[in-house]
């Protein structure tokens, strides 16, 4: 017997699929941030994602232990030597720090970054789409996170901005995403522009700084930092300039940057929840 494709059930399914797609598009367009459905689903999935992410981290550790034992031993020996060297540096630094503190008191200067408050968060899942670069962390409004806050590494390199936030989860869109634009300036010269991600399969850490003036004098290796917003401070490192060219219009320049952070081994980020502007 020949089967019929468009049975009444199939027609109903197709109509339902079109209706759902249209309704969800309209709901997303009308709502700001995550919709109620997304919020519920992400909250339900959060413990599962945390569990799988933890398992994944353990699996990577075991794999590294089994297949990188010799290199780990060599690395361990090198690190021990480095620690000894660093301990000596720390002793010197502590002396210098005390001296510095005295000088700071003398000059009544306060430490620039004492005002930062961090919320550490583990990455629990990554966006599966090739057209986006974002991940989900296991903390949300329950820890005081808000959309627009900045995620950085332990070394102070910008990873991205929170673009969606739920009760116990938040989505961080990374600086490598083409859709995220961050106001930035070149640390040495002060030229300002807008940094956004690019899609280059051969170099996924490539960023682009747009809207630089035609007269801007820029050197390779110049550091690019944030200019700040109401939700994140200025002076956070985005990357280093690798190339400068005229843009498509011919009236402005753009710079290619190498992002300072690497997402490959990223497990944990730190969200700047508070800082004193100015």
């Amino acid at each position: 017997m020949k089967r019929k494709l468009f049975t009444s059930k199939i027609k109903t399914l197709l109509v339902a699929a079109v209706a759902l797609a249209v309704v969800t598009t309209v709901v997303v367009a009308l709502s700001s941030g995550a919709t109620a459905g997304e919020n519920i689903m992400s909250s339900l999935l959060q413990p599962l994602r945390s569990g799988v992410a933890a398992l994944d981290r353990q699996a990577v550790k075991i794999y590294d232990y089994i297949f990188s034992y010799e290199s780990l031993e060599a690395e361990n020996a090198a690190l021990k030597a480095q620690i000894l060297e660093m301990e000596a540096d720390v002793r010197t630094a502590q002396e210098l720090k005390r001296e510095n503190q005295r000088l700071q008191q003398l000059l009544e200067l306060s430490d620039q970054h004492d005002d930062y408050r961090f919320e550490p968060a583990y990455i629990i899942s990554w966006d599966a789409s090739s057209w986006r670069s974002s991940f989900t962390i296991g903390k949300g409004t329950n820890k005081g996170l808000e959309a627009g806050m900045c995620a950085i590494t332990e070394n102070g390199q910008v990873v991205g901005l929170i673009t969606e936030v739920g009760a116990n989860w938040a989505t961080v869109t990374t600086i490598l995403d083409n859709g995220l634009e961050i106001s930035a300036s070149i640390a040495s010269s002060g030229y300002t522009g807008v940094v956004q991600g690019t899609y280059r399969s051969e170099d996924t850490r490539l960023l682009r700084m747009n809207y630089l003036t035609h007269e801007a004098v820029i050197k390779n290796g110049d550091q690019v930092v944030t200019t700040g917003s109401t939700l994140y401070p200025k002076g956070l490192l985005l990357g280093k300039i690798t190339n400068v060219s005229l843009d498509e219009t011919g009236v402005a320049k753009y710079a290619s940057l190498e992002a300072s952070c690497s997402l490959e081994d990223l497990e944990q980020v730190f969200i700047i929840t508070e800082y004193e502007a100015g």
């Binding site: 197709l14 699929a17 598009t25 599962l48 799988v52 599966a128 974002s134 996924t204």
Partner: protein, 164 residues
């Protein structure tokens, strides 16, 4: 009564398989890019399930799964609800023409990946979110993702036997 119980177990197992695939794709494979692209496993899984259960039941499963996938925050967007449902219905119907469905499921998985990821790429490009991304990535993504069909097909077939 017993048959109904077996069918329920079968659909629960399919739901668990979908959930695990979703977690695998986001928590494990989501961070890694292969030649610039990420693997796309969901369309392959849905094609394989539809190939086993047929286009009507498969279409309904795909519709629900696509909606859950969308709600989980996937960047594919709401268009995925339509494309994945159409892929499921099409694959289920096409596979019903064959007595052995293993290799037809391979070809249909590849076509489903091209259709779904192609539409998602087009939507992102249209909205300006994929500026600079080459369309060849869609083909590359399909080529790299489609080998997962063997595992998904065998799992879907084994689960299908539970409800037979």
């Amino acid at each position: 009564m017993f048959q109904r119980y077996k069918k329920t177990i079968m659909w629960v197992l399919y739901a668990v398989l979908f959930l695990l695939t979703m977690l695998l794709q986001t928590a494990v494979f989501g961070r890694t890019r292969f030649f610039g692209v990420k693997l796309s496993l969901i369309p392959v899984l849905l094609v394989c399930v539809s190939a086993i259960v047929g286009h009507e039941a498969g279409g309904l499963f795909c519709l629900v799964a696509a909606f859950v996938w969308y709600l989980s925050g996937a960047a594919d967007g709401s268009i995925a609800i339509l494309t994945l449902t159409v892929c499921g219905i099409g694959a289920g119907f096409a596979c019903s023409q064959f007595s052995r469905r293993f290799f037809p499921a391979l070809g249909l998985s590849f076509l489903a990946l091209l259709l779904h990821e192609g539409v998602v790429f087009w939507m992102h490009a249209y909205l300006g979110a994929a500026d600079g991304a080459p369309f060849s990535w869609v083909l590359l993504m399909a080529v790299l993702s489609v080998p997962s069909w063997a595992i998904f097909y065998l799992l879907a077939k084994a689960i299908g036997k539970v409800g037979a």
